[in-house]
């Protein structure tokens, strides 16, 4: 008398990697982990908001209406209005767009740099590995915010600058893990076999190693997205990231900080959304990790 999950697990293990059928089973299994289910829902919800922002938001985010400034939440303005009379709900919805977009780009850059360096380090070992690892250790331990501030001071504030600055300090989180994975695979027979038939190093890395680490990359990407979003909003909070009137959640928080007693809703709602988004991706990422690559910790 097996449990449903048990029989699903069994089926999951006996099929091959590709195929739509496997994907369906995968989703079913994911749903059994309630936490990641919640994460998935949150992520889908935020993505939905982001994609359909122009339709969902009742107003444009930059629409100023000063006579109606600092109104508490009501039917007309579900989240209230800010100091310039803008509808906070609309701004939060558009903010989802920015948050996800920015987060994705940061993760993409990080993944590109981090994965390539990780594969190179793990595959070649020796001196190259030592240099890359030492560099990764150093960069990883450096506080992102400080470096981002330094970069911002040199090339000026703005979302693009912030994105670059954050991606530059965060790639090591990919590198270390990819490197470890590659190292564990490099000695396996299929790599040795590929070498013995004369495959070039580049080919081996791209066509043999890469497909096997895609699941790891996916898990890592899901787990680093929240930090990317938090870091970018942090810089916007300090005033160095998104510039007004861009409805970045962090920027909205900083506007609301000074109005905390008078109009707490200005800061509260964007803040809640940041937390929920980060939580959603973290939960989803944890679930993905348990399924695809349980050896990844932290």
């Amino acid at each position: 008398m097996e449990s449903i999950k048990g029989s699903l697990l069994k089926k999951f293990e006996t099929r091959s990697m590709l195929g739509l059928a496997r994907f369906k089973e995968f989703l079913l299994l994911l749903l059994h982990y309630k936490a990641s289910c919640i994460g998935l829902c949150i992520v889908m919800g935020i993505a939905f908001l982001a994609i359909f922002a122009p339709i969902i938001a009742p107003q444009h985010y930059a629409e100023i209406d000063v006579p109606n400034k600092l109104l508490p939440p009501s039917l007309a303005h579900p989240f209230g209005t800010d100091a310039l009379g803008r509808d906070i709900f609309s701004r939060v919805v558009y903010g989802a767009q920015i948050a996800l977009w920015v987060g994705l780009i940061v993760v993409l850059i990080e993944a590109l740099i981090g994965t390539s360096l990780g594969i190179i380090a793990g595959y070649f070992n020796g001196k190259i590995d030592k240099i890359i690892s030492a560099l990764a250790d150093l960069v990883w331990s450096f506080p992102t915010v400080v470096l981002a501030l330094g970069v911002v001071m040199v090339i000026g504030p703005g979302i693009t600058q912030v994105v670059i600055a954050i991606a530059i300090t965060s790639w090591p989180s990919f590198t270390r893990i990819i490197r470890a994975k590659v190292q564990s695979m490099v000695n396996r027979e299929f790599i040795l076999a590929a070498r013995s038939i004369g495959e070039s190093d580049l080919n081996i890395m791209l066509r043999y190693l890469l497909p096997n680490i895609i699941s790891t990359i996916l898990v890592l990407a899901t787990l680093t997205l929240p930090s990317a979003i938090i870091s970018t909003t942090a810089l916007s909070f300090l005033g160095f990231g998104a510039q007004p009137p861009t409805p970045d959640w962090g920027a909205m928080l900083s506007e609301g900080a000074s109005l905390l007693i008078k109009a707490p809703w200005v800061a509260t709602f964007p803040g809640i959304f940041i937390v929920i988004t980060a939580l959603g991706f973290n939960l989803l990422g944890d679930g993905l990790r348990d399924l695809l690559d349980p050896k990844l910790r932290w």
Partner: protein
């Protein structure tokens, strides 16, 4: 009252199950065996038949998601399964000890072996640290490692496999247990070292009079060094008796099959006899006799009813419908 020639350890109908998400894994499903004093008792069977779990159950080292569900383990008149944990702790390492299969992973990498060997005497006998250290050095000498004083300060990762196993042995005999369970102690070692370790174990047994429960799948070892043997299959004991009896006259078809698999000498045989089929799943074992799907002599009774252990000849038991009424 305990008689001198009373058995040292008796296991009666032991059942240890593991509750997994896939279902209930019945690793040990009704195992009974008897270990006498000052003997080498061998527990043989294929990988996955439940030998190690039996040993761990005797030591009550079964953790979540496993549980000892039923049975009695009588040691010196006491049922170990009914003891509170604090009492069982006093027996582990002191009365009954166990050495494991892979010495590389079974030693703590952050302590030197002198410390690890001295721990049990400190805890069980309240020895002061210097005395315990001296004892550890002495034991390192007893297990035939050179330069005990220096060795005691070494960390496990600098030692070879054989030396690590010797360290394990030193650790476990430090309190002079009456029963030493050795779970495949030589499987992970080189062939030459294997013989040395077995010789060492037997020498210790001779000197101290302890019993060894040797778990192995190597029949050569059993034939050479064993006194009594129990054959396990799919969580149950299918045959038990002295090594001489079981090897000369194997009763159970499985035992016969196993012994028949061993290539003997260079006789011209075209094939090696093997037992067809594979081990049944421990979650869904076959009904009736567990061996019947692979057995040449299976009858209808075998499919429906589980055979019990019956005594045929002196101290030679078998669980098979071919025997008895």
């Amino acid at each position: 009252m305990i008689y001198v020639d009373a058995p040292l350890l008796t296991v009666k109908n032991l059942k240890t199950y593991f509750y997994l998400s896939k279902g209930v894994l019945k690793a040990v499903d009704g195992v009974s065996l008897t270990i006498k004093r000052n003997e080498v008792f061998c527990l043989v069977g294929e990988t996955g038949c439940g030998k190690s779990v039996t040993a761990l159950s005797i030591m009550r080292l079964i953790f979540h998601p496993g549980k000892i569900v039923d049975g009695n383990i009588i040691y010196e008149g006491i049922d170990l399964l009914k003891l509170p944990e604090s009492e069982m702790r006093k027996i582990r390492g002191k009365e009954i000890a166990m050495i494991f299969q892979s010495p590389m992973k079974s030693l703590n990498p952050v302590f030197n072996i002198g410390y690890q060997i001295s721990e049990a005497p400190i805890v069980h006998f309240n020895l002061p640290h210097e005395d315990a250290w001296k004892k550890a050095v002495e034991l390192i000498g007893k297990v035939k490692m050179p330069d005990p004083e220096i060795r005691a300060k070494s960390y496990p990762h600098v030692l070879s496999g054989g030396m690590r196993q010797r360290s394990m042995i030193a650790m476990m005999i430090s309190c002079e247990p009456k029963l030493l369970i050795a779970d495949e102690p030589t499987t992970a070692l080189d062939v030459t070292v294997q013989a040395q370790i077995m010789d060492l174990l037997l020498e210790i047994k001779k000197r101290s009079g302890m019993s060894i429960m040797l778990i192995t799948h190597n029949f050569g070892l059993v034939a050479e060094r064993g006194d009594d043997v129990a054959v396990m299959y799919s969580g149950k004991v299918v045959e038990e008796g002295s090594v001489k009896d079981v090897f000369d006259e194997p009763l159970h078809p499985y035992t016969r099959g196993l012994l028949g698999c061993i290539p003997v000498g260079f006789k011209r045989k075209t094939e090696i006899d093997y037992i067809p089929g594979t081990l049944p799943s421990p979650i869904n074992p076959p009904v009736g006799c567990r061996f019947h799907p692979r057995c040449k002599y299976a009858t209808e009774k075998c499919v429906k009813e589980e055979p019990q252990l019956i005594e045929i000849g002196k101290n030679h038991t078998v669980a098979c419908h071919l025997y008895g009424e």
